[in-house]
Amino acid sequence: MSVTERLVLAVEKPLKEAIWGCRMCGQCILHSTGLSCPMRCPKSLRNGPCGGVRANGNCEVDPDMRCVWVEAWEGSRRLPLWRDHIEHVQKPVDWRMQGSSSWINLLRGKDKMAPKGWEANGQP
């Protein structure tokens, strides 16, 4: 890991962990999920809630946690921009990027890279 990346991570990691409970997937889509980190979902679902969400809006797996997708939906309604991005089909996670800086990956365009056979029909 380069010195630059280490320095960026020293800022990015504590900041995003404190504000969004970020799990450092390295391919941030917070703006598409109403600023609710989908990696907090026990099933790591990046495209919407599972069918198990409880009637009170809490998680099937952790009954004391609010479903991250209930929060994502509500959050997306409050966003001035990117409201419709919650309707985009998100590509599969590249697990190699776990722990790396999504800010650097964004600047380098690395977070946009998808497997060759992936063609997101839902992406306008």
Binding site: P42, K43, S44, L45, R46, N47, G48, P49, C50, G51, G52, V53, R54, A55, N56, G57, E60, V61, C67, W69, V70, W73, E74, I86, E87, H88, V89, Q90, K91, P92, V93, W95, P115, K116, G117, W118, E119, A120, N121, G122
Partner: protein, 317 residues
């Protein structure tokens, strides 16, 4: 694209279809599967083979589906992203195609903590939406997710699920739209016990013009006892069972509760058939295939249309 799925042919022909869930098997003897499946023969158009339902281990859906193909019954193979990573999922999809499986239902799956191995590692390498895209890419572009070419593309009729009763309710129709964009040809919903809530969901779906793009098949449960209904209401994730329905069964004498359950299912079918955009019903009688047959008969869903199932068995493309 043309698909040799008989279920697809019926739906595209505008027929009101009937599918049912087969009880999952815990027997190494295929006769156990065939015995249960044979009860459904002639009463349904296709049979769902569940994938470790409720996160409890059972015979694999792939093997079950193939056993049905062997006996000339049309399977719908369910596949969850809970137990397999992207390599295993694609391997099983291709294998299923080679074994004559045409219909898929792809889903996230109940969490491992709901099942009999709660200590297991959950996989969720990709999500159900992405699996729809992967299956559609294998079919339409003839490639794996990696981009590598298949020698022969599979011919799938791709299904997905949606739960109209779980929050966030306003997002559910949009999520269904995402699934259609990702490649879903048909949708089987969570069990419908609350018709007004389902109707509101279908109104929103209609607003997005989705019934023209995807076949929507609500699931109808056949409660066998008041205790079973109470269990579903309190213990099964994502199920919404109104108190009035449980009360109705509790007021019924135990010996008559199964009959009352059948009556409830018939009433639900009659109610959902009146909702525009419904393409069929999916019947679920938990470990009770005989109940499914009775409901199909008494709800006026029999006889099922005859349409040669030959095209769906074996063969390619």
């Amino acid at each position: 694209m043309a698909s040799p799925s008989r279920l697809a042919s019926l739906l595209r022909d505008g027929r009101f279809v009937v599918t049912a869930e087969l009880s999952s098997s815990n027997s190494a003897d295929p006769e156990a599967t065939w015995r249960r499946a044979d009860v459904l023969r002639g009463s349904v158009d296709a049979i769902n083979c569940t994938d470790n339902t409720g996160a409890h281990v059972h015979m694999s859906s792939l093997a079950t589906a193939h056993l049905l193909v062997e006996r000339g019954l049309e399977p719908i193979m369910q596949l969850t992203v809970r137990d397999r990573n992207r390599l295993a999922l694609q391997a099983d999809l291709l294998g299923a195609a080679a074994l004559g499986v045409r219909n898929l239902v792809l889903m996230s799956g109940d969490d491992v903590t709901a099942g009999d191995h709660p200590e297991a590692r959950r996989i969720y390498d990709i999500d159900s939406m992405q699996l729809l895209e992967v299956a559609a890419a294998m079919r339409d572009r003839g490639t794996y997710l990696s981009g590598r070419k298949l020698e022969q593309a599979p011919s799938f009729f791709i299904g997905a699920v949606e739960n109209p009763f779980a929050p966030p309710l306003e997002f559910r129709p949009l999520r269904l739209q995402k699934k259609v964009r990702a490649g879903a040809d048909f949708i089987q919903t969570q069990l419908v016990f609350d018709v007004p809530v389902f109707k509101r969901f279908m109104d929103l779906v209609g607003g997005l013009d989705l019934q023209r793009k995807v076949f929507i098949i609500p699931s109808i449960g056949i409660p066998r006892s008041a205790r079973g209904a109470r269990f579903m209401q309190q213990k099964v994730p994502g199920l919404h069972v109104p108190e009035s329905l449980v009360n109705r069964l509790e007021r019924t004498a135990p010996a008559r509760q199964a009959e009352e359950g059948i009556q409830i299912a018939i009433e639900l079918i009659t109610a959902v058939r009146e909702i525009p955009g419904i393409a069929g019903v999916h019947l679920i009688g938990i470990k009770w295939e005989e109940g499914v047959v009775q409901v199909a008969e008494r709800a006026g869903l029999l006889p099922r249309p005859t349409l040669s199932p030959v095209a769906t068995v074996g063969g390619r493309g």
